[in-house]
Amino acid sequence: MPAWSYLASPATFYGFAGRLAPWFFALAAVLGAAGLYLGLFVAPTDAQQGEVYRVIFIHVPAAWMSMFLYFVMACYGGVSLTFNTRLAAMMARSIAPTGAMFTFVSLWTGSFWGRPTWGTYWVWDARLTSELVLLFLYFGFIALANAFEDPRRGDRAAALLALIGLVNLPIIYFSVQWWNTLHQGSSVNLRGTTMHKTMLAGMLLMAFSFWMYSIGTALTRVRAVIIERERRTHWVRGLAGARA
């Protein structure tokens, strides 16, 4: 039997996730410590912005995560709709809160970076508006998934919503190219970067840290989701008994 179909049963995945999650949190902590060290103590002061540019070490990785996690969530949603599997839907539900958190952090840190540099906490330009729409898409996903008596109906409706909302991601990403917006264009892309090496390293380390953290939270949360959904089964009952 191929490995993934063995894992596709909630009962087996529960144990698997429980064993893996701590490693991802540990990785996140190490990478985060390294990233913060580079970002706060090693990277030089910016010529134009002074110290406040250091928000970038949270803001950009959080923004990347907000989009990436939505994409992964939508993929799990698509898988759950195509193959009618429960576990894929449970993983989508488990990713949503972390995705919403990073979207909020991206908007908040962007706001507190914008005030000293642009002079305003908020502007209705294309990128900020579509990132705000992303936050509401996450909220909508969570609300819709939990709005039905039958959790499977919630799974399917939320998965479809996630797929419909995918169109927002290219809008967020390309908005600074398509429109003359206040938000600056990307300084990091596949061709290279104009950033100072330590700044780039700090940003990448923080991005990987957030990524590992997200996997850790998703694996931890899916265990709780599995307990909730499979609470009538023998093995979950056994779990609860052992803790008493």
Binding site: G50, E51, V52, R54, V55, I58, H59, A62, P97, T98, M101, F104, V105, W108, T109, F112, W113, R115, P116, Y213, T217, T220, R221, R223, A224, V225, I227, E228, R231, R232, V236, R237, L239, A240, G241, R243, A244
Partner: protein, 46 residues
């Protein structure tokens, strides 16, 4: 507002958000297990 204020507000809010998420994870797990217990007790009474 000094630049330190904006840095603290940014890093601080992120730290709070991450801490809150981790705490809520534990709360959710405890609630899920409590619900299982509750249903077991209800069925035992039948």
């Amino acid at each position: 507002m000094s630049h330190e204020f904006y840095l603290w507000m940014s890093y601080g809010a992120t730290a709070i958000a991450v801490a809150a998420e981790v705490v809520l994870l534990r709360v959710r797990r405890a609630q899920a297990l409590a619900r299982v217990e509750e249903e077991k007790d209800l069925e035992a009474q039948d």
